[in-house]
Amino acid sequence: MSLMPYAFGGLAAVVLLGSFFAASSQNLVRSVLWLGAALIGTAGLFALLNAPFLAGIQLILYTGGIITLMLFGVMLTDREHAVTRQNPSLNPLAALMVAGTFFALLATAIMNTELPVHMKDLNGGTQAVGFNLLQEHLLAFEALSFLLLAAMVGAIVLARRRDAE
């Protein structure tokens, strides 16, 4: 008996519920924590799909990044009630269009991808990721890190300007 379907079901439920409550919760902190739960669920899916390295990275980068997001959320909202009861949907129609487009894109991509049938054909191991990043897609990888560096320098410049005044 394989536990795979149950594990997948459980993790998928965590991701779905987490995403739903992250969007619908009226409390900013709770909504961020739900997002964290959804991202942990995604890490679980990676682990299930024979990609332990990606699972670990997902936990460190995405879920770990949530805590910083949460801090910004609390620091940038000046009053406490703004944190606890404000999460309005500004324009449901536009949101629906963006979400719909994104869904269509993802659905097309998934439909057009040939998924490997056997679990052992999947490879998300450290070596595979390393070769992909540092050999096949080295240029894109470097461009991305350059972009991030530029963003970081920009952030420092923006933060500094306030001091000078």
Partner: protein
């Protein structure tokens, strides 16, 4: 009897429940016993006796304290966020225990077999700052919130040198697997002295994991003299008890990981095995107490400056040197 055991261990669910149960029991035991050990150790350092009354050598003090804590009323402040308030300590303990699951205590003795054990360990222990933060936030108390803000600032900053120092043995061994990292240290070539960077990387790793576990001299989020007790100030009874429990277990795990990565884990002169791992982990664990009762607390800004001005640049340099060292053909099996 052995047949049943084999069947259980081969079934994924049985294996999870059985090994998970053993691991949780072991770690909880370590956490509970640590309270006694710490008080005894602190007493000796300060020329006192520590607990002596309850049971032989005061050993049953642990049980007495446990019962006392369980019987205390659990108070949820009226202005607190009740769900998050209750969940925070539980999640803290859960995450700590989850990070213990990938540690091999001897060759092949890890509950979860994975090729990226170190990465998972770092991931779970990095998440620990979450429950501490939201405990402070959910308490709706300014001291708690101040404390948890400090906890996040410290946790997020020290995670960087922690991960980079942990990368040094990874580069030297060419693997994220604890088994392979230990195997690369065979023949007395422990990473702490087999190369020019190991000793410094160990010191950085150890300091940063102390900071992650909020131990003195890095217990700034708690700072009982300024912030009363930081994020845990509103907690009572066993809910409060879970925070120090998670802290003790986390420190123990950090000691175990340090001995795996820098001191050869279960390898040793004479027969290899669990006893060496226990000895090394225990020695490092005691060193944590020793530091705690010898040093005073840093100031918050000193702590951050120490991290960003010293630990981060040094650990970056260590990575470069370790890479060159492996590239030049010393050690490493990548």
């Amino acid at each position: 009897m052995t047949d049943i055991m084999d069947q259980l261990l081969n079934h994924p669910l049985g294996r999870g429940v059985l090994l998970g149960g053993v691991l949780v029991g072991l770690m909880m035991g370590v956490g509970a016993f640590s309270t006694y050990l710490e008080r005894k150790f602190a007493g000796r350092i300060q020329n006192r006796l520590g607990p002596t009354i309850v049971g032989p050598f005061g050993l049953f003090q642990v049980i007495a304290d446990g019962i006392k804590m369980l019987r205390k009323e659990i108070i949820i402040p009226r202005a607190a966020d009740p769900v998050l308030f209750l969940l925070a300590p539980i999640v803290a303990v859960t995450l700590t225990l989850a990070s213990a699951a990938v540690i091999p205590f001897a060759e092949g003795m890890e509950p979860v077999v994975t090729s990226v054990g170190l990465l998972w360990l770092l991931a779970f222990s990095g998440l620990l700052v979450f429950p501490v933060w939201w405990a402070g936030w959910a308490s709706n108390n300014k001291y708690a919130l101040f404390g948890s803000m400090r906890a996040v600032a410290q946790g997020v900053s020290y995670e960087i040198p922690l991960v980079m120092a942990a990368l040094v043995p990874v580069i030297l061994a060419g693997s994220l697997d604890f088994g392979a990292i230990v195997a690369a240290q065979k023949g007395g070539a422990w990473f702490i002295w087999s190369n020019p960077v190991g000793a410094i990387a160990f010191i950085i790793f150890f300091l940063a994991s102390l900071a992650e576990a909020n131990r003195i001299p890095f217990d700034i989020p708690e700072a009982e003299s300024e912030l009363i007790a930081g994020p845990s100030v509103e907690y009572t009874g066993i809910l409060w008890g879970m925070f120090p429990l998670a802290e003790y277990i986390h420190t123990f795990i950090a000691s175990a990981v340090a001995s795996l990565m820098f001191f050869g884990g279960w390898l040793g002169p004479g027969p290899d095995g669990l006893h060496w791992m226990a000895l090394k982990t225990g020695a490092l664990y005691l060193a944590v107490y020793w530091l705690r009762w010898s040093l005073v607390r840093f100031r918050s800004d000193q702590l951050m400056r120490f991290c960003w001005h010293w630990l981060v640049p040094i650990s970056l340099a260590l990575i470069v040197i370790a890479t060159l060292w492996v590239h030049a053909g010393f050690g490493g099996s990548a």
